[in-house]
Structures are given as structure tokens and as C-alpha cells.
Symmetry: C2
Subunit: 309 residues, 2 copies
């Protein structure tokens, strides 16, 4: 068999990652590009194509060796038709048929999906949600993304936009969210909100890493900030647990590195406030695959999409 | 074929309904019993058995004519094993193997599920959610029940306790709920809460029917109460829409009779606050099958369960 590799792309608000994976989803090569100068849609698309071609070159591979290309993208995607609806944090993208653009240029099969979906798929197949039948996966960063895996497949919803745990309102009234909503979970526990709160409390700029270190060292103010994050995340998850009755909730992303106190608080809120049958059934665990989850998920997605054909 | 009928049972907090349906799910006979005097678990079980036997007798049928018995029950059910976990509003039931008890007495196949699941199944197969692929169904009464139907089947969750839309928190802090949670949707829009609010505003006891009549006649205070109900229901549904990306939300139960103003408010909140891709995709419609939805769903459930075997 000549097709021994898959190309995976993970596009974020600040970085573009392109990787080569083998069929056991091991990363054989990876390059990370800043997207800072790639402001125009066309420049970003060219950078994706260029990175893929360079990856092939550097590894002395040709297209016959590649099963396909999978992309995890930061916004709602029509995965069947391969269309990007828009990116909340990258301007200039509106109903872009990226699959068809890339397939024409690359002459390879291309598959797109939301980045949180890719991460959820990876954690389900190879990470913290292995063996689960109803798993929910969150990624805590600038935004709060989410995905749902049910009975061996991604839950998509009517327009493949399901899983947006970050946009569950946790109050009737509250801050306006980038999504147009109000009091969404993301407005309370997105990175920027945590950093702003930390600056207010400590009266200086402070990174998430330092805030975690301080909390682990029992600094009461830092601990207080993380416990509030955990409490609010817990309240949104009470709704998810009562509605979806999952057996596993995986939490990843930078904020998840805050540590045990965050997870303990989330578990406490779920155990106190969710319905007993559902609360007893669910475990809350940390993501296992780290920053590569999106790439691994994109590779799995390529393989599974081709198998279905 | 001798098995031309199905027996359906719908147990609520105040009534026990037992019906005979044909294989087109038309109700051929129905009896409604008050459960007021049936306080003990044993008395209630005997009343169910007795009503079923009388229904057979009155219709000159014997057990060979009956495909099976389906029960819609007001609480979390282990439907695979046929066990009632408990009933939030009927004391004395805890991990009761009702399927096995009834099958021994009736010598007929028995299938149990949550009443909101039965209603959701009925609205999906024969009611307002026909043709939908991702439908969510709510029943607004003393409690706020819900069910999810995805890709032709009930969404169950890891312990068949999914779908509890009434127990999504809509605030971080708020009234304690019967479920043990806080600020659940049900604590704001359950019948009792609406009646209490109406009494406070009108300074007298007032029924839901009168409150609807007054609102339809443009009484500002009555209208205000219903718009608040719609607003809060809308906020919980913003979370559901963002998370599940359904194509159809069916709202039934007594409170749904408040009329167009309630539905318009719910639609307005979803269209303003939910994410655009999801909000555009979903329609919010009134349940079609009325009070018989639970019975019809229970009959459908019997037939589908037997077909799977």
C-alpha cells in the first residue's frame, strides 16, 4: 500500500500547524507558522498549500503516498459540502468552499471540520474518552469550544454546528458574547476574561501559567480566581449533564492546566447540582493528547471519511 | 394476524391513563383514573393491572390480541432492564423492576420509558416533528420534561436519563429545584411558579386558562407574565440550540396553550441570542398530539421495541 500517510492541518487564531501522520496517527513531522501576517484569506490559503507541499518535499513523499488532507478549523463548517460558514476570530471568510479550492490545488482528497470536533474525535479514539459511549469534550482557551461523540461518531446537529458548550448562557442577563449572545459560558471563562480578572486582583499583568503556579502554591487570591472559573464551568456542565447524560466529560486547552483544584470544583458542582442519576454516571477527566489533539483528530477524520465512501 | 392492538399506559402525578390502540396508533378505548387514593406503590401497580384487564374485557379481547404493553412514566427509567429509578413526585418508588412485575402478572411483553421520551417519539413519528432529523421536544406542566430524537431514534444518554431540558440552570444563583439543583428552568416556568406569580400580580387565585384568556384579550399584566415565561424558556433553549443544533423544537403541555405570544417570544430570544448558523436552522412549533401524545408514544415504543428483537 502506497498511501501510508495523512496530512493534518490545525488552524487557530494565532497559529497554523501542518503535520504528517502515519496510519497509527503518530506525528512524523510538524511545522508551526504564525498567522499574524496572513491577514487576507488568499494569503492564508496559499500558506496552507505551501506548507503541505513543503512537508511532502521535506519527507521525500509524493502525493501517491498521501491518503488525504484533514483540516480542523476555528469556526462553523458545513462538513458535507466542505464549506467554511465563517470564522468568529478571522475576518474575511464567509461561505468559502475551501474543500473544493484545496482539492483543485492539491489533487488530494480534502476533509474539513470544526477544530473542537477534531479534538473530540481524537480524545474519543485515542485519548481520555476511550471506551465512552456518550462523551463531551471541551477546549478552554481564548474561546471555549466543544464537541460531542455519541455511539462511535461525532454528533453533528442539523447544520453541523452542534457542541457549542462555550455558548450555553449561564445567566439570564450578563456580558455580551462575541457570538452575539449574552452571558455565554465563554464570556466568563475565556482566557481574556480570566486574565482581566487576574489583573484586577493582582494590580499587574499576570499570565495564566503564573496564575496556576500561584494557586498551586496556595495563594488565596489566585485560588479564588480558579475556583470561580471551575464553579461557572460546573454550572454550564450541570445543564449538559442533565440534558445529554454523558458518561465522560473531557476538558482540555490551556486553562485545563490550572490543575486539580479546577477539576475538583467542576466535579463538586456537578455532584451537588446535577440530577442524581446523571451525576453518578459521569466522570470528568483531563484531555490526554494535549496540543496535538486537533492534528490527530483531523487525521482520524480523513481515514474514517474515506472508509465510509 | 391476531395481535392487532397495543395497550398504552400514561402515569402522571394526578392521573393514570390506560388506552387501547390499533396498529395505526389510533386510540380505540381510553380510561382515566385519579391516582389520589393510590398512594402506596402496590395499590398503584394493582390499579394498572386491573385497568389493563378491564380494558381487555370491555373490548372483548384476550391476550392473544395484544402485541404488548407500553408505559410512559414520570421519572428516570432504566428502559433496557425495565427498572424505575424513582419518581420525583410519587414517593415510595426506588429501583423497582416494574417490567418484570407486570410481565409476570399480565403474561404480555412490557416496555417502560420516561413519559417525556414517549411524547417526543409520538411527536416525531406522527406529530409536529415529522420529517425532522434532530428534534427536541418539551412538555410544560407542573414539571418541565423533555426528550431528544436524533436520526430516527430516541437519544438516551449513558443511563437513559438524557433530555432533561427542564433542569438546565438559567442562572448561577436562583431558587432550589425539586431535583436538587438550583435555578433550573423548571423553577421559573413550572405551573406552580406561574400560578404563584399570577396570584401575586392579580391578588387572587387565577387559573392558567384564565391567565391565557386575559393575555389573549391584551390584559397587560397577564401578557407580562407570559412574556417572562417565554423569555426564560427562550434562554434555556438558546443553550439547547447552540449545543444540539436541532432542526425542530416542539413545545407541548398545558402551558403551551398560552398561545402565539409565548411562541413568538421564544422565537425572538432564540433568533437574537443563539448563534446564527444554529438559529437559522431551527423552527419552534407547537405539539400536535395534545394530551394523548404520551399514550401514542408508548404504543409506538412497544411496536418498535418488538421489531428490533
Amino acid at each position: 500500500m502506497v498511501n501510508r500517510f495523512i496530512i493534518a492541518v490545525d488552524l487557530g487564531g494565532t497559529n497554523l500547524k501542518v503535520a504528517l501522520l502515519d496510519l497509527k496517527y503518530r506525528i512524523k513531522d510538524k511545522k508551526v507558522l504564525s498567522t499574524k501576517r496572513l491577514i487576507k484569506k488568499e494569503a492564508l490559503i496559499l500558506a496552507i498549500i505551501d506548507s503541505i507541499n513543503k512537508t511532502l518535499e521535506n519527507n521525500r513523499l509524493n502525493k501517491a503516498n498521501i491518503l488525504g488532507v484533514g483540516l480542523g478549523l476555528p469556526g462553523p463548517i458545513d462538513t458535507e459540502r466542505g464549506i467554511v460558514h465563517f470564522f468568529p476570530n478571522i475576518p474575511g471568510w464567509k461561505e468559502v468552499n475551501l474543500k473544493s479550492i484545496l482539492e483543485k490545488k492539491l489533487k488530494l482528497p480534502v476533509f474539513l471540520d470544526n477544530d473542537a470536533n477534531m479534538m473530540s474525535l481524537a480524545e474519543y479514539k485515542l485519548g481520555a474518552a476511550q471506551g465512552s459511549k456518550y462523551s463531551v469534550c471541551l477546549t478552554l482557551g481564548t474561546g471555549v469550544g466543544g464537541g460531542i461523540v455519541i455511539a462511535d461518531g461525532l454528533y453533528r446537529g442539523a447544520s453541523n454546528a452542534g457542541g457549542e458548550i462555550g455558548h450555553i448562557p449561564i445567566n439570564e442577563r450578563g456580558p455580551i458574547c462575541n457570538c452575539g449572545g449574552r452571558a455565554c459560558l465563554e464570556t466568563y471563562i475565556g482566557n481574556n476574561r480570566i486574565l482581566r480578572e487576574a489583573k484586577r486582583v493582582f494590580k499587574r499583568d499576570i499570565s495564566l501559567e503564573e496564575l496556576s503556579r500561584l494557586a498551586k502554591g496556595k495563594n488565596r487570591q489566585a485560588l479564588g480566581i480558579w475556583l470561580e472559573v471551575g464553579r461557572r464551568l460546573g454550572i454550564a456542565l450541570v445543564g449538559v449533564v442533565n440534558l445529554l447524560n454523558p458518561d465522560c466529560i473531557v476538558i482540555g486547552g490551556g486553562v485545563a492546566n490550572a490543575g486539580k483544584m479546577l477539576f475538583d470544583k467542576v466535579r463538586e458542582v456537578i455532584s451537588k447540582q446535577a440530577m442524581s442519576v446523571q451525576a453518578r454516571r459521569v466522570k470528568v477527566v483531563k484531555a490526554k493528547l494535549g496540543n496535538d489533539a486537533g492534528l490527530i483528530g483531523a487525521a482520524i477524520f480523513v481515514r474514517e471519511s474515506l472508509l465510509k465512501k
